[in-house]
């Protein structure tokens, strides 16, 4: 299991770690059993994600994908952010080992989960906008 240099760089120097005091969007995905939990804080103004921070309990890939996903999303509109797939995160990281692919899915889901929270706070059903319910179905991304 080998990480790319980019993954290692983001693991060593993760961007956007932390909390946002006055966040108006917070999402958390994953669970303890899986060994990966990602929590995303966003400050959204006029449909733009002006600030984003994360906290992650998880492996090197989980930290690196959190870092990269928040980088990709920062400053984007919600629409743009929702268009960012786990694939984009993996590509930006120059690849992930097959056993770690689920981390990128988790990152995508964490972003969506925060955005869903943003809508829910405003009394809007996030489902039609963000997509289906978000859950870490199992610890395994493959067989």
């Amino acid at each position: 299991m080998l990480y790319s240099e980019k993954v290692m760089e983001h693991f060593a120097n993760p961007r956007n770690v932390g909390e946002i005091e006055d966040a108006n969007a917070i999402g958390e995905v994953g669970n303890k059993k899986c060994g990966d939990i990602m929590k995303i804080y966003m400050k959204i103004e006029n449909e733009v994600i002006v600030d984003i921070k994360f906290k992650t309990f998880g492996c090197g890939a989980a930290v690196a994908t959190s870092s990269m996903a928040t980088e990709l999303v920062k400053g984007k509109t919600i629409k743009e952010a929702l268009a960012i797939t786990n694939k984009a995160v993996v590509e930006a990281l120059e690849g992930l080992p097959p056993v770690k692919m689920h981390c990128s899915v988790l990152a995508e889901e964490a972003i969506k989960s925060a955005i869903a929270d943003y809508y829910r706070r405003q009394g809007i059903d996030p489902e039609p906008i963000v997509g289906c319910s978000l859950k870490c179905e199992s610890c395994h991304s493959h067989g």
Partner: protein
Amino acid sequence: MIYVDNAATTRLKPEVLEKMMPYLTDHFGNPSSIYTSGREAKIAVNSARAGIAAALGATESEIFFTGSGSEADNWAIKGVAHAAKGKHLITSAIEHHAVLHCFEYLGRNGYEVTYLPVDSLGLVNPEDLKNAIREDTALISIMTANNEIGTIQPIPQLAAIAREHKIPFHTDAVQAFGHIPLNVNELGVDLLSVSAHKIGGPKGVGALYIRKGTKITQFIHGGAQENGKRASTENVAGIVGFAHAAALAIRNLDENAKKVTELRDYYIKRVKETIPYCVLNGHPELRLPGNSNFSFEFIEGESLLLSLDMKGIEASSGSACTSGSLDPSHVLLAIGLPHEIAHGSLRISFSEDNTKEEVDTIIAELGPIVQRLRDMSPLYEGIKNKA
């Protein structure tokens, strides 16, 4: 670089390599050949066999070289199961995968397997073994010492129960051999697996002790090597290296054990003093000299390992074989740790080449790393805020 993952593998000792060199250069004959260079190779293999036999208190004809500790485990377990009439097998929940996956395979192929639980320190209860034995129990396999948490099982007691019922008893002694005294007769075992690369020998060589009279089918069929019991042109250099590493380990066992235990106890003491929310896994006394295994709450093991590696410290989280897997260690779950804590374990395993200075460096690095990861962890938020 500070290497403290000696339970995963060890540095090939320079003096062992030196003994191997003739067989990697001029003495390249095939031990099955009857001419001079072949006979010399045969003599080298047989004297290595005598060496391993002596190290275990066995006789030469009971030692069979293999290509790894895993092969020795596979041979012992499948070989005895296939040779037996009974279809019931007993092992423990904390075996190495080389044992566990054999039983799972047999479990899918007509055998019934009982996995004995362990207590919170990792010990099998002899009463559980007694209760698990059936009329048709064909094999009992319980490891001598665990690779993750270092717990040493009461093998003499367990093997005696097996013998009472005339059931063959195998023990995976890959982690124990060369580190604690082992004698097949004092242990009372019928089969015992060892591996060279855990004691300063080369990778890719193991051995299986098979007590005379034990019914076992062959595992690798072919030529008449290893007294017709295990085919393959012998890895002469590797076998010679294994025997020399074993001889060194046995000769220096007490001294090394003392040194390594001291290092480890110092490390354990320092961790407890400097890092909150940690728990030592495994048995406080019945433990391999070099083994330490801590769970650090709120953080995940791999991140810890990568962070240590960035500081030049090489250590492990659970067994090397399972890294890359997403499951938390089956051993840590078996001793009752909750999933998220099982995910956050750090195994540091010392050898006699490690020093107190290295431990000090590890401690100096470990604290800040753990803190940094906790600061990044959503699980720690509540704790921090409470504190």
